[in-house]
């Protein structure tokens, strides 16, 4: 019996909600795959960390009322250190032990000198999950997408080092907080916006020298279910209030969310899909 370890890197900007979505991902996965041949179980501190994140999300439903709007970002403290989440993966009938290590990169590292560590992590990872803040991608004609989702820096991370393709990789674009667009029937628009905004990376990974080593997919997520984007706060001239300095420079200062119905529930959707894609890819890798 041997132990095989796989690395999954969560890559996304500050306050995208990477850790929160990981909590939702595991929660959904266990519900959807109960009775299946593959089970995932968190190990050690990971259990507490994910529970704390889930509690943080659930708390929104206990403290807010229908009709309120609120600034979600103020409720969620971003991680300031790299965090590893460890899982055991058991495959029915297999003698091998599989370990999954999710590495959650603090968003601000993307905009700092620590970015070279991220580049090294990317080389080692089997799966890279690019989290996309969907309201910034879609609202105001995507004017704040670059400032939030750091597309240009991601372009350099994916193109600067060909060692990235020394092992086969799965690259998942995961648009988060898609509730508004899902209920408005606009998910096709979300998909097209991802393809347009991440065009440099997608075309680069599609180059004939690279495409055989990379699998790419877009798997959107409804992070909380009944919480929807409301608006970016504007000033009296009708312009979005923008941060003019600090680590969130050029981003909208206040992003408001609201409940979409009178009996809101924590009801994430499709959160299991990135995990299902990941496990399917890893199964192909070990075959």
């Amino acid at each position: 019996m041997s132990q095989i370890e796989f690395s999954v890197l969560m890559l996304g900007a500050r306050r995208t909600g990477k850790s929160s979505v990981l909590a939702s991902m595991l929660d959904n996965f266990q519900r959807v795959t109960s009775g299946c041949d593959v089970t995932l179980s968190a190990i050690g501190e990971t259990v507490c960390r994910l529970q704390a994140k889930k509690d943080e999300l659930m708390n929104v439903f206990n403290t807010k009322m229908y009709g309120d709007t609120w600034v979600v970002d103020a409720l969620l403290d971003p991680n300031s250190a790299k965090i590893k989440y460890l899982f055991n993966m058991n495959v029915h009938g297999s003698d091998n032990e599989y370990k999954l290590v999710f590495t959650d990169i603090p968003g601000e590292d993307i905009a700092s000198a620590k970015i070279s560590d991220i580049a090294q992590d990317m080389i080692r990872s089997h799966v890279i999950i690019i989290t996309v803040d969907t309201p910034h991608l879609m609202e105001e004609e995507g004017r704040f997408n670059e400032a939030f989702n750091k597309i240009s820096t991601l372009n350099q991370l994916f193109t600067a080092d060909n060692r990235l393709f020394s092992i086969n990789k799965l690259i998942l674009f995961v648009p988060l907080k898609c509730e508004k667009y899902y209920h408005e029937g606009r998910m096709k628009e979300v998909r097209e916006a991802v393809k347009k905004e991440y065009d440099v990376i997608i075309k680069h990974l599609g180059n004939k020298n690279i495409s055989s080593k990379v699998t790419m997919a877009i798997t959107p997520i409804l992070t909380m279910g009944d919480v929807v984007f409301s608006h970016f706060q504007k000033n009296d001239k009708g312009l979005v209030n923008v941060c003019l300095d600090g680590v969130e420079k050029y981003r909208p200062k206040y992003v408001h969310y609201t409940f979409r119905n009178k009996n809101p529930k924590f009801s994430p959707h499709f959160c299991e899909q990135p995990l299902i894609y990941t496990l399917s890819f890893l199964r192909k890798c070990v075959q």
Binding site: I115, T159, K203, L239
Partner: protein, 361 residues
């Protein structure tokens, strides 16, 4: 030492770093998926991203009918700044070349020359290409008819930086004492107004007059066959045009308290549709396309000279142009460079002009 060295010069606050960021961004978008990949060193990528965001922010923080001085270079570099771009073949290890862009303040050539002489000489000796960033509204507006260019150009863009002595250092291999093949790219920035008005043709005309001494020197007998000169106008932001220099109540341009340049350069959005379309730079990839075309020509020249030259000359070139010689053996890179070179814009209607074509671009 980098494989290829590019010097960026120009007047204070012309926005050199911003346009360098825009050049890379535009190249990556224009040639996404191409075999030749250009990318910035990841350690400095967030600095370049911040420059792009400062250009985009013009639209986010103003209404469509605002007229304002964007001051997009609010924190100009006071010293030398280096940015490294990598050129590689997508997915291929080992085929990686370094392009070093050095942004130096023009003052190093004149006011502070003695203090920086050694460093400037070294940079010039290593440099293959010089990019001269030009603030186009200062070059063209408020024309001094007898000169054929704007009355604030000399003070703002400071063409007097480029004395014959300085340029000889750039054009002559200091060790070998022979003229080496170089390229000078004039890069007029913020050309939106003239492009929209269908007057792009006036840009190269004004460059030839505004930099007449420099161009005459580069066209001289010693350098004519060794220095390629081109004008590559750029729409730095797109959908955002120069309006006027700030004036007082009498309609006179208000000047800077210590320099004889306008205190404010006011810009506006041409119409609501342009404002809505937002950040849309054009031709920003062209300086990089010209640089790649130059590299290809030099690689071919190196291949030829390695067959014709004496052993001593070949060694000298090997040491001087290590990147070029290394690339000469990289057939895949040469083929890919060829396809990029074919994308050079040379249209005079768009204000592009090759003034001197020593390497037959």
């Amino acid at each position: 030492m980098a494989d290829f060295n590019i010097l960026m010069v120009g007047g204070r606050r012309t926005g050199k770093t911003s346009v360098l960021a825009s050049m890379l961004d535009s190249y990556q978008k224009r040639f996404a998926g191409h075999d030749i990949v250009l990318s910035s060193k990841v350690e400095t990528s967030y600095i370049l991203e911040d420059k792009i965001l400062s250009l985009k922010n013009v639209f986010a923080t103003h209404c469509f009918d605002d007229e304002f001085d964007p001051d997009i270079d609010a924190s100009p570099n006071m010293g030398k700044v280096e940015y490294t771009f990598y050129m590689s073949i997508a997915g291929k290890s080992g085929s990686k070349y370094e392009l070093r862009f050095t942004d130096i303040p023009g003052e190093w050539f004149v006011d502070d020359y003695k203090e920086h002489e050694m460093e400037v000489n070294q940079l010039f000796a290593e440099c293959n290409i010089m990019i001269i960033a030009v603030d186009t509204p200062h070059l063209i507006e408020d024309e001094n008819v007898s000169l054929g260019y704007g009355r604030f150009h000399d003070e703002f863009n400071r063409p007097a930086f480029f004395t014959n002595t300085i340029m000889d250092k750039f054009l002559v291999d200091q060790d070998a004492k022979f003229a080496s093949d170089k390229m000078v790219l004039f890069m007029p920035l913020k050309c939106e107004k003239y492009m929209r008005e269908g007057r792009s043709y006036i840009i190269p005309q004004a460059i030839e007059k505004g930099y007449a001494n420099l161009i005459a020197h580069l066209k001289g007998d010693n350098f004519r066959g060794h220095c390629t000169i081109a004008v590559l106008p750029i729409l730095t932001i797109g959908n955002f045009v120069f309006s006027r220099f700030g004036e007082n109540e009498s309609g006179e341009v208000v000047l800077h308290p210590t320099r004889r340049i306008p205190l404010k350069s006011l810009y506006t959005f041409p119409d609501q549709r342009s404002y809505k379309n937002g950040f849309a730079p054009e031709y920003c990839e062209q300086p990089l396309v010209y640089i790649l075309a130059y590299i290809l020509k030099m690689v071919r020249k190196a291949n030829d000279s390695s067959q014709n030259g004496t052993w001593k000359e070949r060694m000298k070139k090997l040491l001087s142009f290590f990147g070029i010689l290394r690339m000469a053996n990289d057939q895949q890179m040469v083929v890919a460079l060829n396809s990029i070179s074919s994308m050079m814009i040379k249209s005079k209607e768009k204000g592009f002009q090759i003034i001197q074509n020593a390497i037959n671009l």
